[in-house]
Symmetry: none
Subunit: 191 residues, 4 copies
DNA sequence: AATGAATGAGGATTCATTCAT
DNA sequence: GATGAATGAATCCTCATTCAT
């Protein structure tokens, strides 16, 4: 008697197990078997549902990015002023769940995967584009034509702070979002 | 007597082959055999001289960082004013040879290695500390007590721009060093 | 559902192939691949079930010792007098199947393994303790307090005769069990 | 300027290093490089002098057996009565230097080598024959025609006690030589 | 005589993937 | 749908051996 409706449950369990396992290992050198065991299923099932290891990794990446996107959206909903929007984006980018060690590690690993895997690359481009669009939209009223350029600098700073954190640097003071905000404000002032 | 003095030659060839191979593959998944073949020696020799695959990778990382350090030092020698120093550091950080695809890729890969390999981690810490010290030294005259904080932001921006470049983003306009410089200037003005 | 219940079958086949292969080679320098091929499976499976080469060797050792233990037990069941017990132990110790070349060779090789492998060492201790206990039990009625000492001498003689046989000495006259028996009787007479 | 007369010194150093290394490792899995390093020469020289690894091992075995033979001879020189001869042989067989861990281990390992290496086998046969001849000669006056048989049992007991010691059994009480002597005496009494 | 350099075959081990049931 | 069985290619690493100098 096959259980019905198990597929989404299994897929979800596998994706979460992948993130956890990648984070725990601190590397993409994770075996499908380990992931499957953590998800409580056989390794064969992982292939059955995802086709292969990389596809599983990409699915995990998509999961993270989706969560990030949802976070930004919900944060933006309550924002009124342009500056509110900026604060919301930064808050979402540096929300605590993103800084959980296993997530930040997974994120970094996926960066790498994107260098060889088209699916991962596509996802990353979408993330970049979305972040850029959000920033530009929030900056436009105050920065005008300089919005794209400042958005790019801000995005780079976000990633750089992330990277440093992932590499074990002492947590920055002030908090990363405030730091980015300060930089943006500074750039805006010196038009 | 045997052919003497081959060791440094072989080590050098193997290190360079490692960088080239890692860069070409876009990943650390490079076999020792391929590296050795590119260096024109047997795989056994690579182990003989370096002990293992990771040690070889760390040696390659050290090679890159040494080159970077030398670049900064020589650039700083001709600097007079604090601002010259800043420009020199940034120019070295974003010098063209650092942006050669296989170097930038290798760099990124080594970031990853640093998450599991102690030797790599140590190297990375040294690089971070040195960059920080250089920036603080150049900023002190103009930034005073704010120097460390601004140095951290600048370092993060440098890494972030690097990362984005490695991930295939369109080359930034203006050039990354000018962008960092502008940001620093902006922060300095708004004391 | 998959083909079930193959594990014990494979394990058994691999263990027997190990004994055969070690015996045939006259040394522990046997490759896992050869063992696996003889067992009709892939080398990967051997690792899957046993974890590694040494564990496979230890499992083979255990198989031999288990067979020996069973032989002694069944021989002891029909023994009535103490002397019967002694004869039974010796008969089992020198039973023909123990003198099959590949078994005796494997046995000797395992002695060696026991010098470095904890699992093998444990097994060997168990064998020693069991043989000693059996001998003491059989000797007690006739030897009293001297039983342990005579048992030790007898055990050493058993192993020595075995060793010499393994090393290619001409088969002893009279048969080894009778020889040990004669020695024990002699020691018992000269209280 | 090649040093003259170095050959015997080198050979000797290599042989001793071999015994030490085999004993230390508790196995024949010793690399030629390690042996050479311990002897203070290059691995190439070991091959130059001995031709190969096994030949080096056989040479080490010969060294041990030669020492044993010399010990027996010198011990026999002062023996007067047949029983003295017996005591002398046993004392030499169980002399302390034979029970040094690395020697006893090497000895056991060489047993193994003898199963595949003709040179080692030949040496072992010589050792067996010599021990047997010595024992028979010492036993003849008291045992007459039974001398060969008793000699065989004694030899087996010697090897068995050795083996047990090598395998880590608690040192026997009484001392092994006395134990063998007691057994022989017992067999002689019960003609 | 002696060495360091260099090789390359060989082996243990790992793992993604496939498949019969 | 789900599993355990099984494979075998791939890779790191070791080491005896050879060789030019």
């Amino acid at each position: 008697m096959p259980k019905l409706g198990m597929e989404p449950i299994r897929r979800d369990a596998l994706v979460k197990a992948t993130i956890a396992e990648v984070g725990a290992a601190g590397s993409l050198d994770v075996t499908v078997s380990r992931i499957a065991r953590r998800a409580g299923v056989s390794s064969g099932l992982a292939h059955h549902y995802f086709g292969g290891k990389e596809d599983l990794l990409v699915a995990a990446m998509r999961h993270i990015l989706t969560g990030y996107g949802a976070g930004v959206r919900s944060a933006l909903e309550t924002a009124v002023s342009p500056r509110d929007r900026l604060v919301a984006i930064l808050a979402a980018s540096f929300s605590p769940e993103h800084f959980e060690p296993h997530v930040i590690t997974a994120w970094l690993q996926f960066y790498l995967l994107a260098q060889t895997n088209p699916g991962a690359q596509r996802l990353l481009r979408i993330y970049h584009a979305r972040l850029h669009a959000n920033l530009v939209h929030a900056l436009r009223p105050r920065a005008g034509a300089r919005a794209p350029e400042i958005a790019e600098t801000a995005a780079a700073l976000i990633d750089g702070l992330y990277l440093r954190h992932a590499l074990g640097a002492r947590p920055a003071r002030p908090a990363p979002d405030l730091r980015v905000l300060a930089m943006i404000d500074s750039l805006l002032v010196n038009a």
